[in-house]
Structure formats: structure tokens, C-alpha cells
Subunit: 676 residues, 2 copies
């Protein structure tokens, strides 16, 4: 390598860092796009991409891909719905699904899709309501009230879902207005064997061969919705190093975090969460061992748990890398030096954050809820009865008027509830409560009521009526008068937990409030010191990420950017005998029909994180070229630091989806609708 | 039911409690056997059973079943050896094994069998060496010295393995003399599919259908050992309610524990251990997902971990049952009342125990070792170099002269070590150390050496030479001069951990010593108050348990005592599609040849616990009728309380083993040797 190319390599390497960013749609990095990529995102381009992007309340992203309401997302995002639509005799997760007519499309029991329509900066109004002199308790109340007022006023005036979003750790507040779609139907899903090809072993790895895609359709007034802004479809393979965009809803990053806050994650929070996840993983596996139907009932939740366990494990590994922390320390010292020279009093905010982490450690293992659907329903009802007695401005955010429809969408879901699984889950939760608080704790003694956890859980699960939809409808209609008097055992349990719930909620809300104030100061001080990020941490709201299609080097091996559809057959053969690498029959049968060279999966440098799953990847023309479904293991540190040496976002190629529909799933009629 | 049968039922139910007990062979409950069962264990009967019983250093029990050295134990006890004898091309665990001649018998790489020859009460000598006035530190030293002296003197004089065993929590000390067998060879093992039929789901459950049996042979001077005392074999089915005996090595019970000590287990120790086990379970599963060979490498350890996880889970569930703790409180109060009225000062011992539990909580999550074979080897070498410089009487017990042969049997094992698995395990251990101590802890910083845990683990595992047998032999031969100067990275790691190891060892040894003294007082005070158990808690030494063959009632369903061999085919069919219930081909092929009515597994009320696996079950005539391999889930509380309403020991019937050898495994020649 000569000197010129060395310099070039350095430039490429350092400039690739610049693809960092989860950009707000009302504050896109236009200069950067112009300077680095000679790209101008005009208003029409931005509007179409923004309004073609949707958020799913099950926790992922998607996009409109046809004028008559087709939505493309991941199989693993839609799997919550697939699971809820499945029965012992029809396992949609395992078997897949294809509707050959509108009539065959299956309505999701509780899915809500949000399409972002407008963003309004309300920072000043929120900031004016909360003053530094307020106690944390007072500040929580004041902020809650002003946000409730803004949301309510917006909802009343526009009829749109209105959420005030906290940005830059609290330095900015934007009002997001969404059009809601609550009639969402399943159109097509492949088999899990191909959607999650390679299983837990290949999850967060690359190269990959996954058809992690599902197609839904939104309806309005019982008919396929007419969609103005949807994405055109491009089957053309893109050159390496070409520019792409990802428009989706990254769930949460913590890049603003101070070193002390990261150490709290590293030494306390992540180890705690991982213990929790492994516990639930083993529990769900055990339940699944009981039989085929039990395995089906547990599977979707088990996949979710395993996915989280692997993701958090990668995050922790990154934080335990001394080099990561050294880099974070270095950056913080640079900012702090600048801050100290310009406004020394602002440095106290970093100390505040450190102090708050100590308090977080103290309450880390204290929780007041139970991971059980029946308990969640009972808890929501009890909270609703209590909060509805207060003025809207004083209610907990999730129980505000502006959130009521979404809350009821969940509360009145028709999804099945499996009492055998509920009993096992609640048993474990009761055991866990007893472990954390000790068997002699008065709350534990009260709740176990003299019985073994498994016996008590059975009594609760088989005794409650909150699993019955009509009962819940009645509770919702009559409200507090009925709920407060209820002798339903699960409602009684939720009521018994209320004191602890409110106590912990108050502590956490006040910690959050104090962190918001400190991070506001940190953001402002950093900005004044000329050193801050131009994009806020992820908040499960719409963001634009910029990337280039690009392979990488790992352990001295070059990992190419693309895999091809035909490669999956060799890959499966290589893993013969491993269950997670068995191809579904549909693929085995269609092997010869797949056009050689069709791209299957690809990687790019776009800055994504959990929540981005299902995001469209578009080219300069704003055409859909791929579907985000994963990040590689090196990208898991993206939670707190973006890198692009090896970290990559992983997508299904649009071309593969079309080929699969046409050649494998016998659905050319559906392929024909894509992008039209 | 008329009045008479009600009374009878009551008598049966309460008298069945009397089958409690893990009796010392030098203090058998002769009166109880006479009064309840009209049975007299004469000296010849006792001697034969005692000397036919063996202990395996891999952690289980077994028995001599032929005059030429055949040993019967469980497949899951022998699986450690099966694993060590397996390779990528020959998976003995999965495929099973049969030697058709002595030449084909495979030598275990590091198995040691102990046959108890003699028990000598040395309580007075030990008690005389330790006085109440001594500090805990001094007491540890004094007790260690006197025990080392007794063991050394016995070894020198008899040539037998000589272990001083602590009984009744410290109130008695007995010297156990064992004949050792270190040339142990594999004769027959069935496939895991049938040995562990039903897998993790059926583990600790009943009814069962498992052929959890393996046959070994001991050799002396390269020839099958001549065994004087072996068990005759009985294929006759025994009547329900008939008397049986179990002679084996229960590992550990905690029935002497005070209520506060049990609460420490319930609220701290068991939750901690379960978190640890689930962590390792998920880790080993993940490694196994990499491929077939990786799965084989991880499998034996994974099974062991899952077995422990389920066992500890059952123990915790029992302790979390308020009724269990109420019963323990009631019993303790009764003793304490009696003690207070007769020798009030003795009640302080219960308070001492309570205080010591607090100290145990404080150091609960502090460890100094790593779960890695390579690390264990390095640690042993470093400890050996350090301890060998001291006089024998001052050394750590496991490094005494009297233990040296057994230590070397392990240290110089020819068992394969898999570096890929070692790296994964050590990575997890380094991460765990960093989690528990925090990433900034000086020891963590020193040990990670600026690298990510996985990178550091790779450096250690692939850099060390302790995995090489010749290197270890050299270390052992030269000793301290070579070990102390070694720059081997794993040796350096073990040396870096030495300070922490010694610090924690000292704390734990002194806590143990103080508990010994307190439990000695508790035992003596209870005895004086007329209320103590006549048998000591389990200590992984030979005990006799008494039981009756007896079914039980569970959730209103009668569970019969016996299952039949032919029943397994229906049971397998019922679980079609579940991998753990697939019968091996050998059984499918031989189905028609199995005599109908042959008993497969059975349950009895004998008082057993982990370590009893592989124990012979004998009838009044001292003939082998079964092979203990499990306890049901209700028996898991046996750790701290014996019950017999539902708790049962689970055995393979002797008849089934013979039928399997004759009709399924084509080994009538081996069946012919059993009991002869």
C-alpha cells in the first residue's frame, strides 16, 4: 500500500464515523449530506419517507409499500401478532401465512400503527413550567401537567395521537402528531425456519440468510386504507459504498450518558437485567419442554427474551472493554475541560448524575409488578380506577386522556391468554419477589397468603376473571365503582401491590426528573463549549440514519456486504443436523426457481438500534431497497457509542422479498402490488 | 372407610416418617428395624453391604456386583467418564458402549473408587485439640493439625485412604479408611436417549422409564480385581410395602440447620446459586448451538448444570413454602424451650448461628476461582507449590500428604480439554468477576490487562501450557522451583488471584469453624434436652437408608410404585415429536423381545439425596433389586426436612437391567456375570 492510499484509507476510516446519527426529521443533516454525498433531501423526498414510515406498538418499525395499505415489517416484529393469531391447530409462526384475497387477511388483535404527520417544538413551553428551584417532586408534577395540557390540547384540536417527546436528555421537547391505524391485518408471513434461519446462534451475526419479513395491510372503515405516501420498490442491487438511508424508530440509546452513568450500566444495571433474562429464558424453555403445544405457547416470548439476552450481553461486553470506557472518559474529559474554563459551575451536573446513579443502585432490584399478562391487566385496571379520579393533568402519563385509546387497544385485546403458562410465569414472579425481599417480608407474607408460590399462583390465575374480555369491557365501562369493589383475586393482588408500586414509581420519576435537569445542563454546557452531538439519543420516535453499503474485516477475514439467495443452500448443508439451520420445505422445493445472483441480505453502516427492526432502507431516489432486521454483534455497543469499523446494520434485500413472493410462496399477485 | 382402617391409615402415615435417616454403618438403627420390620442386620449382612458399596470421585455411588470387579452405577454418574472417553468420532454418551471382552474395556482417565473398609471414632482426640477459648483462626489451625496428624498416621500404618469426617455439624469426628481403586474401566453404557429418557422435563418426576445404568470394572495390577464382598442379584419383583435398603453416599443435607441458617439459604444462598446455574446453563447451550461437535463437548456439563438447577429450584420452592418454615420453627421452638429450662446458656449457640449467617451474606458473591479446567489446573499447581513448603499439619486439607494420590489422579488426568469451550467459559468467568467487583476494581483491571474479557480469555487459554499432560507432570515432579518461576499465563493468573483466594478461604474456614463449634453445642444441648436426631447430616460418606416400596398420591391421582418396561413405548408415543422422548433404535428394534411385565423403574421411601445416585437398593436378603437414580420433585426438600407423604427415591429395577443386557444390547455374557 503506498502513501496515498494510506492517507485515503485514513480518510475513509475517519470519515466513515460521520455516518453516525439518528437524525430528527425536523433537523436533518443537510450540510453533511451535501458535502459528503452531494445529496439534497428535498421537501417532497423527506415528506414521502417520513409519512411512509410507521411505528408498531408491538415495538418495531415498518413502512407503507403500496397505495392500498400494504405495510412491510420484520417477521420478528410481527411475530407478536402471529403468535396472538395462532392456535394449537394453526401455528402461524411456524407455518407462515398467505392471504389470497382481502377476505383472507387476518385482523391483528391489538396492533396499532403510528404514522408521523407533524413535529412541533414545544421546548419553551415545557421549560417555562419547570424551574430549577422546584423540589424533584414538584418538578415531576409541574412537567407532567404542562405535557398533559399540550397533548390534550393537540388531541382535541387535531384528533391526532399527540405525544410530547423528551429529547437531548431533557434539553428539548417536541410534540409528535401521529395518524393512528388500529385495524391492521396480516397478509403474508414466511415460516420461522427461514425468517429466523440460524436461530439464536446466528442472531446478531453476519453473513446471514434470513427472510425476516412480513407484510401487513392497514384498513380504514373496513376497507384497505388509501395511502398517499408509500415507498417505491427497487430490486436493483446497489453498488458497495453507495449511499442509503434508514427511516425508523430506534428505541433507546444512551450516548449522552456520563461515564458514571455508563459504569452504573456496566457494573449494576446490565448484570441485573441479564440475570433476569436468563432466568426467564430457562423458565420459558422448561415450560416448552412439556409438549408441542406448550412449546408453541412459549415460543414467541422465548425468542424475545433470547434476543434481549444476546443484545444486552453484547452491550455489556462492549462496556467491559477497557478501551470503550477509556474512549468515553477521554471524550468526557475534553468536554469537561472546556466547560470548566467557560462556566465552571456547570460541571456540577456531572456530579449530580454520579450521585443519582448511587440511588439507582439502591433501588435496582426493587420492582412492584409481575411479568404476567393477567397481572398486567389487573394492574392497569386498578391504576385506571385510581388515576381517573384525578384531573387529567395530574395523572400518570400512560393514563392520560391522550393515551386512552391506545391503552384500551391493549386492554381489550382479543389475544388468547394461556392459563397454564400464566401460572408458571406468576409462580416464578412470586418466587422472585420472595427471593428479593426475603420470605419474612410483610408484603411477601401477605401476598403468598400462607401458600407455596406455585399453589398461590394457581389460585390467582385460575380464580381471576380478568382474562375474560367481556369482564374487562365491563370494568372499563363502569370504571372505579366496579373495580374498587372487585373481589377478583388478581385485582386484589394488584391492589395489594399498589403501595409499593406508587412508592417506587415516585422514586424513579423523581430520579428521572433530576437526570433530565442535569442532562439539560450538560447538553447546554457542552453546546456552549462547542462539543455536543447534533442529534438526540433515541426515543422510539422517527429518525433518519445515513449509511453506506459496506463489508468489513473480522478476525482477518473479509466479510462481504452481500449474501445471495442461492448461498443459503450451501450454508444449510454446512450446518446439517442443526435444527436451526433446516430450510422450510417451501425453500427446498423452490431452490431451482430462484434466479441466481439475487441478493439476500446485506449490511450498511447506518446508525441503528433495537426498535429500528422493520425499518425501510431506501436509496437516493427514496426507493425501498431493503428491510432492516438486525445489527451485527459489533453494533451492539451502539447503545452508547457509534463505531463503523465493524459495526453494521443488517437488512433483507427488497429483491429477495419479491423473488420469495413470486418463486417460493406462489404470490406473484402480492409481489405485483409492492411499490404501487 | 371404617374407623379401624382410618386408624390404620394414620399409623401407616405417621410411622412412615420413621423411615427417615441416613444411618452410619457403625451406628445402625437396629432396634427400629427389629420393632418395625422384624429385621435383624447381622454382621455378615452389614459387612457385605458396606464393602460392596463404593464411592466415585466424580460424585456418586455404586456397588460391586460380581466377584471379578463389575461395578454398577448410574449412566449420569459415569457420564463424566463417558464424556472424557469420547471424541468427535466416537460419542459414547450418545451412542452407548459395550465391551465384548476385557481387552475392549476402556480405562477411565481419572476415576477413583473408594470402598469403605473401617470406621474409627476419633472424636475425643479432635475435641481435645480445640478449646472454646481459641480464636477462630487458632481453632482452624489446631483442628487442621490434629486431623492431618490422624490421617497421616492412619495412611502410614494401613496404606488405606484415610479421611476424618465431621459428623453432627462438628459434635463427632470419625476416621474413614478406604481401599482405593484407580484403574476403573468402562464395560457397558446404554445410549443417553434411554438413560435420560424424558430429559430435563422428566428429571425429578415420576412415573419414569429410564435405563440410567452403567457398568464399570475395577482392575488391580492390570487384571480384573477379585472382589470378596459383592451383591447377589435379584430379578424378583418385590411386593409393595416391602422393606428395602439403600447403601450409598448422600452428599450433603442441612437438617441440623437452625431456622436462621435455613433463611439464609432461602433468601440468599439458593437464589444466588440459581442465578449462577442459569447463567452457566445458557452459556453452555449457546456454545452447543455452534455445531454438533460443540454440542457434544458441552453436553455433559450442561446436563449437570440443568440437573443442579432443577434440584436447587425444588429446594428453594420447599423453603418458600410457609408451611415448611413453620414446621422448622415449631421444631426449633420445642428444642429451645427444653434447652432454656435445662441449660439456658446453651441457647446462645442459636444466636451465634444467626450472626454467622449475616457474615455469610456479606461474602456470598465473592469468589476467587474460575469455572475452567485450565484455570483449575493452574490454581492447583500454584496452591501445591505454596502448601508443599509448609509442614503437612499446616497445609490446606486437600493438599495434605494423605490426599496427594487422589489429587494427582485428577491433576494428571488424560481427559481431553477443549480450548474453544475453555475460552467461552473463561470469558464468562472474567465478565462475571468484572460484574461482581465492578470494572474499576484493581484486581479486575489487573486481570483483564486492558483487554476485553473474550480477548483476554483467548490469550490465556491459547497461551497456557497447563493443558499439556507432560508439562503438568514436569510441574508436579519439580514442584515449587518450577511453578514459582513459571511465566505461563494461566499460572500467572492463578498467582494473581492468590491474595483473594487466601483472604476468602480464611474467612470461610473461620466461619465454618465457628459454625462447627455452635452446632456441636446445639447437638449436645438438644441431646441433653432429649430431642435430637440419631443420625448425622449427609457428608458424602457411606450411609444406610431404610425404605418401603410405595406409590403415592399427587393432585388426586394415584402414582403406582412400579412402571413396566413395555410401558415405555406408549409413553414415547404420547410424547411423539418431543426430542427427549425419542427411543434409541436399539429399544425400538427389541420391543417385541422384552418380556411383558418386567419392572422398569420403582419408587420407595428411602431417605436419599444427591450423591446417592448409583446406590444399590437391596432386599432383606441383601440382594440387589434396584439402582437409585433420582428423587421425585417432592423429595427435594430432603435437604432440610424428610417427608414421606409424596417424597420418593426413584430406582431402575435390577430385572430391567438384566433384560436390557440380554434382549436389547446383545450382552447375555455380561448379564450372566451379574451377582456372581
Amino acid at each position: 500500500m503506498n502513501k496515498v492510499s494510506l492517507v485515503l484509507a485514513f480518510l475513509l476510516s475517519s470519515s466513515s464515523f460521520a455516518d453516525e446519527g439518528m437524525w430528527l426529521f425536523n433537523d436533518l443533516p443537510n450540510e453533511y449530506l451535501r458535502d459528503r454525498y452531494s445529496f439534497k433531501a428535498d421537501d417532497a423526498w423527506v415528506k414521502r419517507l417520513m409519512q411512509a414510515s410507521v411505528r408498531l406498538n408491538s415495538g418495531g418499525s415498518g413502512s407503507f409499500v403500496s397505495s392500498d395499505g400494504l405495510v412491510l415489517t420484520n417477521h420478528h416484529v410481527a411475530s407478536d401478532t402471529l403468535h396472538k393469531l395462532s392456535t394449537a391447530d394453526r401455528n402461524l409462526i411456524e407455518e407462515g401465512f398467505l392471504a389470497r384475497s382481502h377476505e383472507q387477511e387476518l385482523k391483528a388483535p391489538d396492533l396499532e400503527l403510528n404514522q408521523l404527520v407533524e413535529i412541533v417544538d414545544v421546548s419553551e413551553k415545557v421549560a417555562a413550567a419547570v424551574t430549577p428551584a422546584m423540589s424533584p417532586e414538584h418538578a415531576v408534577t409541574a412537567r407532567r401537567a404542562v405535557i398533559a395540557e399540550i397533548e390534550k390540547e393537540s388531541l382535541d384540536r387535531t384528533g391526532l395521537r399527540s405525544d410530547v417527546v423528551t429529547l437531548f436528555g431533557g434539553a428539548q421537547y417536541h410534540l409528535y402528531r401521529y395518524k393512528k391505524y388500529t385495524d391492521v391485518r396480516l397478509v403474508w408471513a414466511p415460516e420461522t425456519k427461514i425468517a429466523f434461519f440460524g436461530g439464536d446462534a446466528d442472531n446478531f451475526e453476519y453473513p446471514r440468510y434470513c427472510m425476516d419479513a412480513t407484510i401487513l395491510r392497514v384498513y380504514e372503515q373496513g376497507k384497505p386504507a388509501k395511502i398517499e405516501n408509500f415507498l417505491p420498490w427497487s430490486d436493483t442491487e446497489i453498488d458497495e459504498h453507495e449511499l442509503v438511508f434508514v427511516s425508523g424508530h430506534p428505541g433507546r440509546t444512551q450516548r449522552i450518558f456520563t461515564v458514571e452513568a455508563l459504569k452504573y450500566l456496566r457494573d449494576h444495571r446490565l448484570p441485573y437485567v441479564l440475570d433476569y433474562l436468563r432466568r426467564k429464558e430457562v423458565l420459558m424453555q422448561q415450560f416448552g419442554l412439556r409438549g408441542k403445544e406448550e412449546s408453541r405457547r412459549a415460543q414467541d416470548e422465548l425468542f424475545g427474551i433470547q434476543n434481549s439476552r444476546k443484545a444486552y450481553g453484547g452491550m455489556l461486553a462492549g462496556l467491559q472493554d477497557p478501551k470503550t470506557m477509556q474512549e468515553k472518559v477521554r471524550r468526557q474529559q475534553r468536554v469537561l475541560e472546556a466547560v470548566r474554563s467557560k462556566q465552571p459551575e456547570a460541571a456540577a451536573a456531572w456530579e449530580t448524575i454520579a450521585r443519582l446513579q448511587q440511588q439507582r443502585v439502591e433501588i435496582l432490584d426493587q420492582t412492584s409488578g409481575f411479568r404476567s399478562r393477567l397481572y398486567d391487566l389487573a394492574e392497569t385496571l386498578v391504576l385506571m380506577a385510581a388515576e381517573d379520579k384525578k384531573p387529567n393533568s395530574e395523572r400518570l402519563p400512560e393514563l392520560r386522556v391522550s393515551n386512552r385509546d391506545s391503552l384500551l387497544q391493549d386492554l381489550l385485546s382479543t389475544a388468547p391468554i394461556y392459563n397454564d403458562l400464566e401460572q408458571v410465569k406468576l409462580t416464578d414472579e412470586l418466587m422472585r419477589l420472595a427471593e428479593r425481599r426475603g420470605g419474612d417480608d410483610p408484603l411477601v407474607v401477605e401476598i403468598l397468603d400462607g401458600k407455596r408460590p406455585d399453589v398461590r399462583a394457581a389460585e390467582l390465575v385460575f380464580g381471576t376473571k380478568v382474562g375474560d374480555l367481556e369482564t374487562r369491557k365491563q370494568f372499563v365501562e363502569v370504571g372505579a365503582p366496579l373495580i374498587d369493589k372487585s373481589e377478583d383475586p388478581m385485582i386484589l393482588l394488584a391492589r395489594a401491590m399498589q403501595g409499593e408500586y406508587q412508592r417506587l414509581r415516585k422514586i424513579r420519576d423523581e430520579l428521572d426528573e433530576q437526570e433530565k435537569q442535569a442532562y439539560t445542563q450538560i447538553t447546554e454546557a457542552s453546546l456552549a463549549a462547542g462539543s455536543t452531538s447534533k442529534y438526540p439519543d433515541a426515543t422510539f420516535t422517527l429518525r433518519l440514519a445515513i449509511g453506506t453499503i459496506k463489508g468489513y474485516s473480522q478476525n482477518g477475514v473479509e466479510v462481504p456486504a452481500w449474501t445471495k439467495m442461492e448461498g443459503i443452500f450451501d450454508y444449510a448443508a454446512k450446518h446439517a443436523g442443526q435444527e436451526d439451520y433446516e430450510l422450510p420445505e417451501s425453500w427446498q422445493r423452490a431452490a431451482a426457481a430462484i434466479p441466481r445472483g439475487t441478493p439476500m441480505n446485506f449490511v450498511c453502516t447506518a446508525d441503528i438500534i433495537g426498535g429500528n427492526s422493520g425499518s425501510p432502507v431506501v436509496n437516493r431516489a427514496g426507493e425501498l431497497v431493503g428491510l432492516i432486521f438486525d445489527g451485527n454483534i459489533q453494533s451492539l455497543t451502539a447503545d452508547y457509542i457509534y463505531t463503523s469499523d465493524q459495526a453494521r446494520a443488517v437488512s433483507v434485500s427488497a429483491a429477495a422479498i419479491r423473488v420469495a413472493l413470486e418463486k417460493i410462496y406462489g404470490a406473484p399477485f402480492l409481489a405485483d402490488q409492492l411499490g404501487r
